[in-house]
């Protein structure tokens, strides 16, 4: 087969596949060209506008972060002479300005300028009129992310083992503190049975990869409040008893 012969056959095949362009193609192209912008300038303007809007949105979210619902930080009160089955430490005095009790889970607070790892150095319990209190002391700062989840039943899954553990009481609270450690400075019991009427047991559920979880076995409906105190830094969890 000669070169020309093969070329003619290929061209026939291409003709059959492609056919002829529709007569309207030229007008279509011309019309789209005249209506299209010559450069992508408008796209740049749109991109810049999108960036400005995104920055504004982020700013608004940072200023009014709906997730950052941290409780008010109170002042330090003197130690309360209440029975503590664990390491003794300062316990705040009940104040009339405390937050109201809630009976639903709370979301974690947004990260703040807390140190990378907070060392928990005390777990203290106390009983007061209307509530039982767990105070978690921190050696080097205040936690930036605290989450409290209410659950029915007192069975918690331990991490990282995956084994379950059942605490005393009827309902549970799972307290999660991110960026914390319970094994460096804390030397007390990891399973505290208080004998109180509301907060009956506290047990470490996780102390792994900078996340500390404490399971709280409680008697009653599982209403609670939590807030932070300074000097020294503490996280206070009150469990309603009546």
């Amino acid at each position: 087969m000669s070169n020309e012969n093969f070329r003619r056959q290929v061209n026939d095949a291409i003709d059959q596949i492609s056919g002829s362009p529709s007569p309207a193609l030229r007008d279509r192209v011309r019309s789209s060209l005249t209506s299209a912008p010559a450069t992508s300038g408008s796209y740049w303007i749109a991109a810049v506008a999108a960036v400005v809007i995104a920055v504004l949105l982020v700013g608004v979210l940072v200023v009014a972060n709906p997730l950052n619902r941290r409780s008010p930080v109170g002042t330090v009160a003197g130690p309360t002479p209440t029975p503590t089955p664990s390491t003794p430490g300062p316990s705040p005095t009940p104040s009339p300005s405390l937050p109201a009790m809630v009976c639903a889970s709370t979301q974690p607070g947004a990260p703040s300028s807390a140190p990378p790892v907070l060392f928990i150095d005390s777990l203290t319990t106390g009983t007061h009129t209307g509530y039982d209190r767990l105070t978690i002391g921190f050696k080097n700062g205040s936690p930036s992310s605290v989450e409290v989840q209410v659950q029915s039943g007192t069975t918690f899954m331990q991490s990282p083992s995956g084994q379950t553990v059942t605490l005393q009481g009827t309902n549970g609270l799972l307290v999660t503190i991110r960026g914390a450690d319970l094994h460096t400075d804390y030397t007390g019991s990891l399973d505290i049975k208080t004998g109180y009427s509301g907060l009956v047991e506290i047990r470490r559920v996780q102390d792994f990869e900078g996340v500390v979880q404490l399971g709280l076995g409680i008697s009653g409906p599982g209403c609670y409040r939590w807030f932070l105190l300074a000097n020294p830094d503490r996280l206070v969890i009150d469990v309603q008893t009546s």
Partner: protein, 166 residues
């Protein structure tokens, strides 16, 4: 060219007008879909209009430059059709196109090639472009362009010699 570069869309439309037919053939063979081919040519024309500054006034390079934009647009069109259903060309009835005819066999063989294998065949055989221009459109060296043409032709007909292709 100068007025097109200055932003005159009508001048640019006139500039590419002779290239629309070859561009359409190229797209129709690559996509095996005439409607999609016209869409690709239209889209490529708009993209070329926006990128006209890249040409830097080199009118001699206009055809290779424009056809390479069309080829890219065809590749993009195929990527967008992720479901992979390709319509076959609406082939007109033609005595030569009957099953068993040499032209029919070549057409079937061509449709079995990938679009990127069909591209050098259209450029070399149908549009009759010099090897250097084919190479520019394919973004390869002339020797690589030559071997792509030969390889694609041999995939359609395995007994072809170089002399029959070039």
């Amino acid at each position: 060219m100068l007025s097109a570069a200055a932003g005159d869309a009508n001048s640019f439309a006139s500039l590419i007008d002779p290239l629309l037919d070859p561009a359409y053939r190229l797209a129709a063979v690559m996509l095996a879909d005439r409607g999609a081919a016209e869409d690709a040519v239209q889209e490529a024309s708009i993209k070329a209009w926006r990128k006209l500054r890249q040409l830097r006034g080199e009118v001699g390079s206009l055809r290779a430059w424009f056809l390479s934009i069309v080829a890219n647009e065809c590749r993009m069109t195929r990527r967008q059709r992720w479901w992979g259903v390709l319509k076959m060309a609406e082939i007109e009835t033609n005595p030569d196109a009957e099953p068993g005819g040499a032209s029919y066999d070549l057409r079937q063989a061509m449709l079995k090639l990938t679009p990127d294998e069909r591209l050098p065949l259209v450029l070399h055989f149908y549009l009759d472009l010099p090897l250097e221009e084919v190479a520019r459109i394919l973004h390869v060296s002339p020797s690589a362009a030559k071997s792509r043409i030969y390889r694609a032709a041999r995939r359609m007909r395995s007994d072809l010699t170089q002399e029959e292709v070039f």
